[in-house]
Point group: C2
Chain length 339, copies 2
Amino acid sequence: MGLLEEIKEQPEALSRTISKGRDVFVEVAQRVAGCTHVVIAARGTSDNAARYAQYVWGMRNGLTVALATPSLFTLYGRPPRLEGALVLGISQSGQSPDIVSVLEEGRAQGRPTVAITNEPGSPLAQAADVVVPLHSGPETAVAATKTYTAQLAVIASISEALLGRHDTLDQLPELASDALGRDDMARSTAQAMSGFEHAAVLGRGFNLSTAFEWALKMQELSYVVAQPFSTADFLHGPIAVVDRGYPVLGVIAEGPTDSDVIAALQRASERGAPTVLITNSSKPDPPDGGVMRFASGVEEWLTPIPAIVVGQLFTHWLAVDQGNDPDNPRGLSKVTRTT
Amino acid sequence: MGLLEEIKEQPEALSRTISKGRDVFVEVAQRVAGCTHVVIAARGTSDNAARYAQYVWGMRNGLTVALATPSLFTLYGRPPRLEGALVLGISQSGQSPDIVSVLEEGRAQGRPTVAITNEPGSPLAQAADVVVPLHSGPETAVAATKTYTAQLAVIASISEALLGRHDTLDQLPELASDALGRDDMARSTAQAMSGFEHAAVLGRGFNLSTAFEWALKMQELSYVVAQPFSTADFLHGPIAVVDRGYPVLGVIAEGPTDSDVIAALQRASERGAPTVLITNSSKPDPPDGGVMRFASGVEEWLTPIPAIVVGQLFTHWLAVDQGNDPDNPRGLSKVTRTT
């Protein structure tokens, strides 16, 4: 199956993730409840899902979420104390030795360990007390798409389970489906931006994860040097690189951070930068340039799913327009093993 | 005073930071001792110092270090529980409202709060139980240099104080001085690389912070689209952007991670990418390209100071060669206030 098919399969895959996972979400929530914080080990796309967890679990469930520094556990062999922590590994393949090592250390220190993976028989799953399978079906394209939105859905579901709620996420497949219906818009926006070689990608809050994941897809599929930033970090230095011809992309939903990101795009636009925005916000005026809208009226914490679906479609068409094969990006293989 | 003067002032500034701070390092260590983990709020250059703390305190002192997500505290007004945490803010100016908010929330939750700042009268300092002044003297260049190495020295000193040791860091000014003596090498390497517009910057472990800070200096001063990566993250996707003409830079000291970074540079070099390496390692053969060496035989955890000094000199000359004014980068001001 090719990348575009896997992108389009997401509503169905999300339905499976949510419905089949119900019991295990509750089980994870019970383990989390006894902890003061969560330490997450992940790489690449899965690390972007971890960023989403920082915001969702931080804001809705009051949890401090730390992203692990795997080399402490592997190359240096000097892991920190994990007292008070639930240790979570996220990996599509469950294969990367560095991520497995963090869970093994968590277990050695007597901490609860959880794996979110598409491969329930993987080494990562074996190192975990609780395994949350993604139920995404085989993902064969090198660039992860449906397993990313499944990881987000799992994180959202655990947040709901921590609040004692269930069935509230049944709208996720429909949100993904609505976003897929905006393919023509994504395609025409990508055509207008074809040929750009680098870009900054801004986000904040819940959609900081989307900015990171959209940038990673552009790197993998279109070889665009796309660098993601929190808007606040961007203004503390990197904005200096923006000049005529340096595109600035943004992704932000209706909510407390939308003005922030749109103002940064406006500032870049005034300096002559082309801009592209994925949003469902109508509050501020976005700058001239490509605006790709998804459904409004969605609770902000759930918007990273429809927002990245639009970003995936955009990136797929950008790769095609630039003459690249989105199913076989150069220099990458599906499973990357790092230590 | 200009940027180059501030770069050259670092040995003297570091002496002040270390000698004047002795008592306060012990006081911070006492506060840390009662906590299970540390939450750090910082932006830009100070956030790169926070990355150094993740490795130094994680590896040498067994502490889990989480980087805060300030928008939870500000724009969203939904801060996480900070139970068990010491809350630390790092900021040269002590002015940015988002960083101040994180400390204020820490105090409201009854947690110990610490500020590392060059401005002991700043709002950040006022929100902290313990203030660690950098004693760097006024920093007038927009791009931070001497306050960054001072922040690293403070973090290293607190690590030593946690181990009950003092006076062991007296070698830092000499390390900085030795690195400054390598100015000709930095200048000629910069000349050879002049004209490049983008780059990946790889590091790992202790020097991941150096990769991030070197990339930020290049963005600020030379408008190079320099994107920092952990080598492991780079191999999980972004390596796809590397092709003939896309430079890959690396910074790594002698130690368990040197082979890892140098192998990634070799892989990039085989694909036709120009490479530049800052290192003191002689173990593996670095790829052809610019190699800037600093003193060998230094304990790895202290190398981020001499390594970034070489990176600062390189970046200064790169900016000059490209006809930019390193004292007045476009679009930036010394104090950035974000919420």
